[in-house]
Structures are given as C-alpha cells and as structure tokens.
Amino acid sequence: MEPRKILLAEDDEMLASLLKYRLEKEGYAVTVRSDGKAVKQDISAQLPDAIISDIMMPYFSGIELVDYLRNNLKSDIPIILISAASNEENVISAFKLGANDFIAKPVSPSELLIRVSKEIERFYRT
C-alpha cells in the first residue's frame, strides 16, 4: 500500500522537523510547508490525504485554511490544528468551520501520532 500523504504546515522549523521525523517513522509521506501561501497553492493543485497545520501561520492562518479547504475546495479530508495559545475562540471557530481535531503546544509527538492515525482511519475506512 502506498503511504498516506500528509501536508504539515508549521513555520517553526524545529517543531516541523521533529514532527516530520516521527510521522515518517510511522510510515507517512510528509511534505512540510512553512507559510500559508505555499500551503494554499499546494492543496489547490493536489490534495494530500490529511493536513496538520499550525493556526498561526504567516499569510494564511490555519483557520483560514480550514475555511478554504471545506468551503472552497469542498474537501472533507482530515485536518488537525496546532496552536500555542489554547485561545478558546480560535479553537471553537476552527471546529465550527470543520477542523477534525486540535492539539495544543507544546505538542507531544506521540499524542499527535495517535490523533492523526485515528482521524485517517476513520476517514478512509469507509
């Protein structure tokens, strides 16, 4: 089976490389993007199997990304958001717009892996 493709949108290089390493170790194919514009271009061209995105991204925030994905691209692929501030308002609007899950910084990679595999399984099983 071909590995699941994950788009990781995170502008903190350190966190990005740690998560990339752990996701790849788990068998995913990971593309890292460090700004919102690039993410938007990427998903407009071709959708990955799942998206993990920081909320605070330059140019195009994670919230905007959820909105764009669900309402413009009409896609239901799993998207998990990461944010340092567990700013309740942000989280609620992300869920309202259709984010699947949310994880607060500092991110525990093991926790993230479980959440990612759960969402992917649920979405692609059916």
């Binding site: 903190d12 350190m14 966190l15 490389s17 740690l18 752990r22 340092a84 525990s108």
Partner: protein
C-alpha cells in the same frame, strides 16, 4: 503674560487633529484621542477664559490694590499662570500618550505623516507650557535656590556632554575652557547654573549651522570667602541686530518676529535665564554682531568651600585609576525622574556594559525588583509621588533577602548632615553628590557590588539560584527515539529560532512595532517549552503580556536585554546536557 501664543498652538493642534480624523481611521485610539483632546481643550478654555473673565470683576474690587503694588500684581499673575500651566499639563500628557498609542497602530503613510505633525505640535505646546510654568514660578518667587558645595569641573563636563548630544551637525565645533585657578569645589546652586548654561548653549546650537561654540569659564575675582566666576558662551552664528539686543531678555521677545518660524521656541528661554541670574545676584550681558556671532556673558558669585563645610561633603572614594573596574553585565536599577539625568545615567551605564533600567515610578520599580535580579540600586532622593526615602524603606522591608539586602546608592544634589543621618537610619548604603564624576560613580558602584556579592556567596544563597537548571532536553531527546543526529539538528534549529527571535525583537523595538514583538515572542514560546527553558519562557511570557496590554517600551527593552543575558547561560547548559546524553559518553 500673553496667552495668545498658547491659544494659537491649541488651534493648530485642533486643526491637525481634525485633518487626521477626516482620514479613514476609526480605531478606538482615535476616538479616545479626540475625547481626551476635547476635555483638554475644554479645561484649557475654562482656565484661560474663566480666569480672564473673572479678572475684571475682581479688578473692580481690588483696583486700588493692584495700582498700589505692581509687584503684588505680578506675583498674583505669575501664581495664576503657574497653576493654569500645571493643570494644562495633565490632559496634554494624555493627548501625548494617546498619540504614542496611535503611532503603534498600523497607519497609512498619509496618516503617519499627520500623526507626526500632531505629535510635533503637541510637544511644542508642552515645551511652551513647561517654560511658562518655570518662568512664572521664578517670577512668583516660588523657585527655591540651593546653596550646596559642588565640583564645578564635573558640572561643566556634564553640561558639555549634553551640549554635544544636541549638536547634530558635523560642521559645528564645540570647545570648553575652564580657568585653572578656579577652586575645585564651590558653593552655589549647580542645577540653576547648569540650567543657565544649557539654555545659552542650546540657543547657540540652534543658531549655528557651521562654525564654533565656545564655553569659557574665568575667575573674575577671588576674595576671602567668595569668588566671582565669568561664564562666556560664544557662537559664530547669525548674530543679533543692535536694536533688538536691548529687548533680548524681555519675556516673549525673540529678535525677529519670524525667528520663531525658523527656529521655534517660545521666546521664554532668555527671560528665564535672566530671572535665574537676577535671583542668584549675578549679571548677564550680551554682545553680538550680525552675521558674525553672539557672546553671552554671565557673572555669578559663589561661596568658597572652607574646611568646615567641606566636612559635610560625602566622602569621595579615592579610586586608583589603574584599578581594573569591570561592570559588564551588572544589572542596575535607577530611580530618577529628571529626563536629562536619566539620559546621562543611561548613557554612562551603557558604556560600562551595565544592563540598566530607569524609572521614576516607585511602585513600578519595586515591582521590577521583585521579578528580576538586580545588582545595585541608584536612587534619586527627590522624586515626585514616592520619594527615595520611602522607596528605600520599602526595599529594606522586603521579605526576600536578595531584595532587602541590595546595595542602594543615593544620588542627590544636596546632602545636609541631617540627610546623611537619615540615609543611614533607613538603610541607604552610600551616597554620591550630584553632579558626580563618572569615575567616582563607577568606583562606588563597583565597590558595593563586589562587597554584596562577596557577602552573598559567603552565605551561599545565590549559588542555588545560578546552578538551577535553566533548560532540560531529556524530554525532547526521548521524542527523538534515540536518534542523536536528530537531537543535534533540533538543537541547531532551536538556536537558529532564538537568533531569529532576537533579531526580530531588536528590529521591532527600533520601529516600536509592539505587535511584531508580541508575535515573535508568541512564536518562540513553543520551542522554549519543548526544551523546558523556563527562565527564557518566563521572560517571553512577560514580553507577550506587555505587548498585549500596553506599550511600555522601556520595560520591553529591559526584558529584551534580560533575554540576551540569560540566553548564553541556557545555551551553555544545553551543550552540557547534549554532551552528557551523547552515546559516546554513557
């Protein structure tokens, strides 16, 4: 006193504000600014017109009185102006504060041009009000004149230093010459003398585009217990025409009616100088040739310091100049309200490599002491609100022994024997007479810091503070699943993040972009959390907090420097821990 000038500035300010509000900006700050301005204007009109309306009626009753005593009239007038000016300052401060806030919002270039104009007009108005206040205080005899011993050469050095900071053109040469036969210490009012000289030198700087400015101090006469000193301030500027010279010391008379347009200023500067010189029982004269330059001559009497009074002088530590004094990285908290002195002190401490935080607010300073480690406190004893004695008492009463034992050096222009006694009772460690010599200050700071740190390390309380783990990479190492190359890579990225953060904060501090700083601090937090860099994290959290709630640039600057100081320690610990975790070193 003419209030027309004041009102015309007010009108200008209002125009600027209206222009500004016509552009699309509709932030809360803008409306708050308008409200503050309206209340300011209302208050001003009430004071000015209310006063002028009430004057005729009181005149009717007390006309006799007014005619009788012209001096009394001036006195009342001056008191009124002093009170009015004082009350105008408060709302104007509000206006200035909101303009500052407005500057931090994102503005179009047109808007920021208007805000700059608004800022300039408000600051001009503030300058005029301050001068007005000062002049009226002098005229009403409210101003106190001191008689304290001071070191003339040090004071002149300070004045020269400030004057040099005013000179922006490279084509202006500044020279100082002091007659060697003048006694080293004399008794008089050093702050008033520096005010006179700064005013005259400030004028010279304003009117000379290229050429020279000279300050010369001569010994005019030397009698048994007093000396007369002659201060000559000459410039090679535009000069003043003969028929204007005789009015030059009149209040509100600038040489040409258009001088104001080109050079600004309220025209009160020289009348203030004249008032001070008169009060000090000296004399002032001016000599000028159009196109050649101007020389102001001030002659002032001073008392000589005899052995008895010399005893009252705080003992100056004799510093061996060959002694190596290194104050790099020392943290100094300065309580000082005079902006000029703040600037001087900041400049000095910075050149010595100290981390300096200066405040005029007692409560705020005490809070800083609680949350941050300082090596020494420099305390101006005369401050508004909470004075130096009260602040010292509070510091000494602190439950935290690192706070209550911190050395406190009092700075004051005058120390009487009672002051000295009081200082000792409330726990001031040492004191320095203003104006002080830089080396003397440096020596005193050094002595007390080394004394107190010796004391603390004996008691062994700080060693734990320093050895505390500032960072812990074990958790992240565990996430790397034994991949030490990945750990190295992550640490490299961490360091890179820190450098980016430092660079961003530095840049945004320069442009006062608090939003940018807040964003950068927020971003770096996750990296700091991952490495459990608690000390850096707490600094960043404070930075975020300050950026969210206000625009306290001084405090941000301070936190930024604290971060810079702390980071090398953290980096050192990271490297140590990596060394320990590496597989070659089980």
């Amino acid at each position: 006193m003419d209030t027309r000038e004041l009102l015309s500035h007010l009108a200008k300010l209002e125009n600027g504000l209206d222009d500004f509000s016509f552009t699309e900006l509709s932030t809360a700050e803008a409306s708050a600014l308008k409200r503050t301005f309206a209340s300011f204007k209302h208050g001003l009109e009430e004071k000015v017109f209310g006063a002028s309306i009430s004057v005729p009626s009181s005149d009717v009753k007390s006309k006799q009185y007014h005619v009788d005593s012209k001096v009394q009239g001036t006195f009342q007038e001056s008191t009124l102006i002093a009170n009015v000016s004082h009350e105008i300052r408060t709302p104007l401060n509000g206006v200035l504060g909101f303009i500052d806030l407005l500057k931090d919002t994102s503005l179009s270039s047109k808007q920021s041009e208007l805000v700059t104009a608004l800022d300039k007009a408000s600051n001009n108005l503030m300058d005029i009000i301050n001068e007005l206040l000062e002049y009226s205080k002098l005229a009403a005899g409210h101003e106190k004149f001191e008689k304290v011993p001071f070191n003339l050469a040090n004071m002149i050095g300070e004045v020269a230093f400030l004057c040099k900071t005013l000179i922006t053109s490279k084509d202006v040469l500044f020279k100082v010459h002091i007659d060697k036969s003048i006694p080293e210490k004399i008794i008089g009012d050093p702050s008033k003398l520096s005010q006179i000289l700064l005013n005259l030198l400030g004028n010279a700087v304003k009117f000379v585009d290229n050429g020279a400015i000279t300050l010369q101090v001569n010994l005019k006469s030397n009698k048994k217990n007093r000396v007369h000193l002659e201060f000559l301030v000459s410039d090679t500027g535009i000069g003043i025409a003969n028929d204007k010279l005789k009015h030059i010391f009149d209040s509100y008379a600038q040489a040409e009616s258009d001088t104001h347009l080109k050079y600004g200023g309220s025209g009160l500067g020289l009348s203030i100088v004249k008032e001070i010189v008169d009060n000090l029982k000296g004399c002032i004269a001016v000599n000028s040739t159009l196109g050649k330059g101007t020389t102001f001559k001030v002659i002032l009497p001073f008392q000589k310091v005899d052995l008895l009074t010399d005893d009252f002088l705080p003992k100056v530590k004799e510093n061996d100049t060959s002694r190596e004094i290194d104050l790099t990285g020392k943290r100094v908290l300065v309580f000082e309200d005079n902006i000029m002195n703040q600037k001087l002190m900041e400049n000095r401490l910075k050149t010595w490599g100290c981390d300096t935080f200066i405040t005029d607010n007692g409560i705020y300073g005490l809070k800083l002491l609680e949350n941050h480690q300082f090596d020494i406190v420099l305390m101006d004893l005369r401050m508004p609100k909470m004075n130096g004695y009260e602040i010292t008492e509070r510091i000494r009463q602190s439950k935290d022994s690192t706070i209550s034992k911190i050395p406190i050096i009092a700075l004051s222009a005058d120390f009487s024997a009672t002051d000295k006694k009081e200082c000792k009772t409330i726990g001031i460690t040492d004191f320095i007479l203003k104006p002080y010599n830089a080396e003397e200050l440096k020596g005193v700071i050094y002595d007390h810091i080394s004394k107190s740190s010796a004391h603390i390390s004996n008691s062994g309380t700080t060693s734990t503070k320093n050895d505390k783990a500032l960072v812990n990479i074990e958790a992240i190492y565990a996430e790397c699943m034994g991949q030490s190359e990945l750990l190295d890579e992550l640490v490299r990225l961490f360091k890179q993040n820190i450098f980016e953060f430092i660079g961003k904060v530095k840049m945004h501090l320069q442009s006062s972009n608090f939003q940018g700083i807040g964003f950068a601090a927020h971003k770096i937090k996750s990296s700091l959390k991952m490495l459990e860099a608690t000390s850096l994290l707490s600094i960043c959290e404070k930075i975020s907090e300050v950026c969210k709630t206000g625009n306290d640039k001084n405090y941000l600057n301070f936190l930024y420097h604290q971060f810079l100081d702390e980071y090398p320690n953290v980096e050192h610990q990271i490297d140590e821990q990596i060394e320990r975790l590496s597989p070659n070193n089980p």
